[in-house]
Each structure stands twice: as structure tokens, then as C-alpha cells.
């Protein structure tokens, strides 16, 4: 019997029992739909994390002023500012360190015309933009000359630009930061959210020298809030960490056995942890959804077994007319497969639709990949074959006389 004919017969058998076919399919639809949707959500979360990581810059460390013990009371990280611009310069001299940038910051109200916007203003050196691989969309970054002359120039992020300059180009405009006028010389490229979910584009950068003069008071001249450092390569990360710790301990005259007064964080490690967590979540969602696919498959097996029993006599007649075991096997296997593939396609459509709704209405990051669609489809076919095989073999294994005698 040709495959086309086997397929037509399968469709006819399914059409005979529409409600049952539909209910069996529903199991597949829900299973595949859940897998597609969950994979889309998981993949979306992973992509989001990966994007944040990509915008972070590579092989970065952050050095924060550390916990200080004062009279037996331990203050939190950053409670004392022990780091200096000179520390940053010294760290940059290490062979495993490619570059460093000192940072100070303060929250300020920005104003342009009637528009207001509150944000964090950072004072840093031009090297910072190199470390973060961050360029401007419009205008330019400030340079060493601006740093030396403490010019009143600012580079702003996209969010600030959108809020203060909804329909004009900010470059060349004068921005007031706590009433001090700054000339905007550049608008930074968009970076999106960081790993903590904070908007990296809601920011303003000014030369650190200017910031110290005009905006931010530091405990002592040269002190900084944190230092960003970049290792020369991924392989050098561990060595860079050791060397930087050693150098800072020497510079800060910390004796053997005493705690660091700074806090060195490997951002790559943080990123990796986040990526692993996202992947784990993605896997778990997929695993949970797979259970419903499995349940759908068992439903198919159940229905196929009932169908084989109901049609025992039919099988006997077919055998008497010359059907080989292979023909009978193929007939029932095809029915299971058609149910799975049709159910799988509908499930796929529903999963994609659900992902779209989640993205549009719940504002979630979802991502339907071709791979997840393929996996869902392949899975439903595999389930059809796997759960259809046993009933089909049972049908094909019947003896003609016994099947014919069945009432």
C-alpha cells in the first residue's frame, strides 16, 4: 500500500472519531505549546543576560573602597574612601593590566530649559570609555585636554538625551548640573540594562577634574569612589587579580594577616554566574514543559491502544484481504504520527502566539528560535513514533483468525 494511501486512510480514521482525535491532539498542542513558550521565555532571559554582559566590556574588574573597622565597628563596602587616583595610575602600570579608570559620582538634578531630570553624574578619565568599549552616537567623547583643563563638558546617555532633548540634537547645548553650566559634546551609544537591571543609558559623564571642582566633594583630594580595571586577556584574569590585590595591599600598607581595605570584584565571574543562572532557569522551564509533552504522548498511546482494540476485527479483515504486518504497523503508526504532527504544528503556533503576547502585554524578553521550533516539532514526531509504536505493533502482531473472530 502506498504511503499516500496509508496517509489518506489515517485521515479517514481520524475523521471518524473527531472528538476523540481533537482531545488527543489537545494533549500534544498543550505539550508542544508549553515547550515552545517556555523555551522562548528561557531563551529570552538568556539573551537578555548575554546582551548585558556584552555591553559591560570584557575582562573587567571593579575596585571599591572596602570595609573599614573603626573602633570595633565594621562599616560596609565603600564606607570609607581609601582609593585614590594614584592607585588607579599604579594599577595601570601592572603588566597584566591593560588600563584603569578612576570614578567618582553623585546624584544631581539636570536641567535644560524647562525640562528636569535627576540622575547619577560620573567623573572619570577618557580611558573609562575605552575600558567599556563605549563610543558616541553623536558628537564626541572628552579627551585628555579636557581632563587637564577641567573643562565644563559633558557626555550624556541616551535616556538623558531622550528626556531632556525630546526633539533636538543635544550636542552643543548647555546643560545645567546643579546650576553649573556644562556644554554637551557627545551622546553615548545605547547600552541597555546592566545585569542588575539598571538602565546604563541614564547617566552623565564629565571629566573627573571638573567633577571635583564643580560638583562632587571628596574626603580628600585624589580620593575616588571606585576604580575600573581591565586585564590584558581572559587568560590573565587570575594573575591580574592577584597582582592588583598585592599592589593595593602594599600601597595601602596593609600588614600580613590584616583584612583588605578595598574590594576587588571580577565582573567576568559575576557575569558568568548570571549566565549560568539564566541557563539553569531556561533548562528548568524546558524540563517542566517537557513533562506536559510526555503526558500528551502517553495520552496518544492510550488512545491508540483503545483504537487498536476497537478495530481488531477491521485488522483481521485487512489481513484476510492481504495486508502484511508492515501495512498494519504503518497504518497505526501513521495515525499516531499525524495526530502528533498536526498537534505539534498547532502547539507551535500557540506557543509562538503566547510568546508574542508575553512580549507585548507583559513586556517580557522572549525569543522564539528556529531551534526551539525544530526541537518541538522533532519531539512531537518522536513522541508519535515512540508512543504509537507499541499499539501499532500490537495490532500488527494479531493473528488473522483471532482478529476476525473478535466481536
Amino acid at each position: 500500500m502506498s504511503y499516500v494511501q496509508v496517509l489518506l486512510e489515517a485521515l479517514r480514521a481520524m475523521a471518524m472519531n473527531r472528538l476523540r482525535t481533537a482531545l488527543t491532539m489537545l494533549g500534544m498542542i498543550i505539550g508542544v505549546g508549553a515547550v515552545v513558550l517556555m523555551m522562548a521565555v528561557g531563551q529570552g532571559a538568556q539573551t537578555k543576560v548575554n546582551q548585558s554582559i556584552a555591553t559591560m566590556g570584557s575582562n573587567l574588574f571593579i575596585v571599591l573602597s572596602g570595609a573599614v573597622t573603626s573602633g570595633g565597628v565594621r562599616f560596609g563596602t565603600g564606607s570609607a574612601q581609601t582609593l585614590t587616583v594614584d592607585d588607579a595610575t599604579a594599577l595601570a602600570g601592572l603588566s597584566t593590566v591593560k588600563g584603569t579608570a578612576p570614578l567618582i559620582s553623585g546624584g544631581f538634578q539636570l536641567a535644560f530649559g524647562n525640562a528636569n531630570w535627576g540622575t547619577l553624574v560620573w567623573g572619570t578619565t577618557p580611558d573609562y570609555f575605552t575600558l567599556r568599549a563605549w563610543d558616541t552616537d553623536e558628537g564626541e567623547l572628552f579627551g585628555d585636554t579636557d581632563l587637564r583643563s577641567a573643562s565644563r563638558v559633558a557626555v550624556i546617555g541616551q535616556t538623558v538625551a531622550e528626556n531632556l532633548f525630546p526633539d533636538e540634537n543635544p550636542v552643543g547645548k548647555t546643560l545645567r548640573i546643579r546650576n553649573s553650566p556644562f556644554t554637551i559634546i557627545g551622546v553615548l551609544a545605547r547600552k541597555g540594562q546592566n545585569l542588575d537591571g539598571r538602565d546604563q543609558d541614564d547617566t552623565v559623564f564629565v571629566p573627573i577634574s571638573t567633577a571635583r571642582q564643580q560638583l562632587i566633594r571628596t574626603p580628600f583630594p585624589g580620593s575616588v569612589r571606585m576604580i575600573m580595571a581591565q586585564a590584558i586577556s581572559e587568560q590573565a584574569l587570575a594573575e591580574a587579580e592577584a597582582e592588583m590585590t598585592q599592589l593595593l595591599r602594599v600601597r595601602h600598607r596593609i600588614r600580613e594577616g590584616q583584612d583588605d581595605d578595598f574590594n576587588l570584584r571580577n565582573l567576568s565571574a559575576v557575569a558568568e554566574t548570571a549566565a549560568i543562572a539564566a541557563r539553569a532557569m531556561s533548562l528548568m522551564l524546558g524540563a517542566i514543559a517537557s513533562v506536559s509533552l510526555l503526558v500528551g504522548g502517553i495520552g496518544i498511546m492510550n488512545i491508540m491502544l483503545v483504537s487498536v482494540t476497537e478495530r481488531t476485527r477491521e485488522i483481521g479483515i485487512r489481513m484476510a484481504l492481504g495486508a502484511r504486518r508492515r501495512d498494519i504497523l504503518l497504518q497505526f503508526l501513521t495515525e499516531a504520527l499525524v495526530i502528533c504532527l498536526v498537534g505539534g504544528s498547532v502547539g507551535l503556533a500557540i506557543g509562538v502566539g503566547g510568546a508574542w503576547i508575553a512580549a507585548e502585554l507583559a513586556n517580557m524578553t522572549v525569543e522564539v528560535t528556529l531551534a526551539s521550533a525544530g526541537v518541538a516539532f522533532g519531539f512531537s514526531a518522536a513522541i508519535g513514533v515512540f508512543f504509537g509504536f507499541y499499539p501499532a505493533r500490537k495490532a500488527a502482531g494479531l493473528k488473522p483468525v483471532e482478529a476476525l473472530r473478535y466481536e
Partner: protein, 234 residues
């Protein structure tokens, strides 16, 4: 020329759960030549259907040998047996055994489909066969839209569509009234006389058996009469 069917010492016993094996056939010797028209009679439970199932390769004997068309059937595998059922034998059952969700035409075309004939060609030949059996107008109907006699004629068309050498009919008129039974028997008589197809049928009614040429009577799993229909003791 070798007979179409040669049974030698065929025995059959059924295995039943718990109890001992039930012996049904105790050594049947029977040879049927091509073109014969044989009626098998006997009391209920004498083993007629059991014998027919063995003849039709639907069941295998417990002992003895069965040669069909010069081939030892017991040596054939599943696949070849299916082929024999498909091409050499046509079945007609008491209960018609048409597939109820298929049109008459598709029922008749089914053996052709299993023979590997293409769909369009199979349909064409099925319609032709139906027309020959006088059922051309019912091709598109479902079996349950036909009378019993019509259904049995459809079943006969299905048995004949692949041009078998042998037609086996187990009480083909058992569910039909006398007039319809005679019509069905005329169909068998005609295809035996005109196409030379060997016909073996089981019946309880002497009137039906009279259409055949040879009578085989079974009693308790043994052949107790084998000879012409005329002159057979009733």
C-alpha cells in the same frame, strides 16, 4: 496437473486457557483440483470453519501438510502468507465483513491497494468489478446503506477483484433469505463456470449445497463423505 489444494493428515487443536487442548480436526485428507465447486457440510462444531481458516491461510494447522498451488504453505513466512491471501485467495464471510467507514468502491479496491496497485487504477478496477456484479450504481454508498444481499455481492466483488484462483466462502448465505441466497449462489455458479475459479463453500442447507458439484461432509473433525452432490445421503 497437481491439484490446487492438497491436504494430508491435517489436524488442529485449540489451546484453551487452563483446560487441556481441544482437538477439532483429526487428520483431514483432501485434494481439490482447479475449477472444482465444492460444498462442505456438517453439524455445527464439526470443524468446518476451522478447516476453512486453514485453507485460507488465516490459521495454521497443528499437524499434517497443506500444499496450495504446488507450494507447501507451512514453509511460508508472514509476508508470503499475506501475499497468498491477497492474490491467490478470495474470502467471502457469513457476516460480509465490509469496512463500514469506507465506500463500497473503496472496500472493493482494498485488496488491490495491498497488492500495490495505484489508487486511481485500483478505483477503476473496483468500479469495473462492481459493475460486473451488477452493483455499479452503489459504488459511492457506504456498506450500511445497502441490503444484506447487496452487501454480500459487494464482498464477492472484493473477493474477485484480484482474480484469485480460489474463492472460500464460509456460510455466505447464512444471513440471507432464500431468494437472495439463490441469487448469491447463482453468482458463485457463474464465476465457477465462466471464469473457472475454484469455489469452496460451507453451508448447512442442502439446497445451497446442490449448486456445487462435489460435497465434503465432516463429522467430529473427520471427512465422512466425499463425492458428488447428487446421491449424497441427506
Amino acid at each position: 496437473m497437481a491439484p490446487l489444494i492438497r491436504l494430508t493428515g491435517i489436524t488442529k487443536h485449540y489451546a484453551t486457557a487452563g483446560a487441556m487442548d481441544v482437538p477439532v480436526l483429526f487428520g483431514i485428507d483432501l485434494a481439490i483440483a482447479r475449477g472444482e465447486f465444492v460444498a462442505i457440510m456438517g453439524q455445527s462444531g464439526s470443524g468446518k470453519s476451522t478447516l476453512m481458516n486453514i485453507l485460507g491461510c488465516l490459521d495454521s494447522p497443528s499437524g499434517g501438510s497443506y500444499e496450495l498451488d504446488g507450494r507447501d504453505v507451512s514453509a511460508l513466512g508472514d509476508r508470503e502468507l499475506a501475499n497468498v491471501r491477497n492474490r491467490t485467495i478470495g474470502f467471502v464471510f457469513q457476516g460480509f465483513n465490509l469496512l463500514r467507514r469506507m465506500s463500497t468502491e473503496d472496500n472493493v479496491a482494498l485488496p488491490l491497494a495491498y497488492a500495490g496497485v495505484g489508487r486511481a487504477e485500483a478505483r477503476r478496477r473496483a468500479r469495473e468489478q462492481l459493475t460486473q456484479t451488477g452493483l455499479g450504481e452503489f459504488a459511492a454508498r457506504l456498506p450500511n446503506q445497502l441490503s444484506g444481499g447487496q452487501q454480500q455481492r459487494v464482498a464477492i466483488a472484493r473477493a474477485l477483484v484480484n482474480h484469485p484462483a480460489l474463492v472460500l466462502a464460509d456460510e455466505p448465505t447464512g444471513n440471507l433469505d432464500t431468494r437472495t441466497s439463490n441469487e448469491i449462489m447463482e453468482v458463485f455458479t457463474r464465476l465457477n463456470a465462466e471464469s473457472g475459479i475454484t469455489v469452496v463453500l460451507v453451508t448447512h442447507e442442502p439446497d445451497i449445497a446442490r449448486h456445487a458439484h462435489r460435497l465434503v461432509r465432516l463429522k467430529d473433525g473427520l471427512v465422512i463423505y466425499d463425492g458428488p452432490v447428487q446421491g449424497a445421503a441427506q
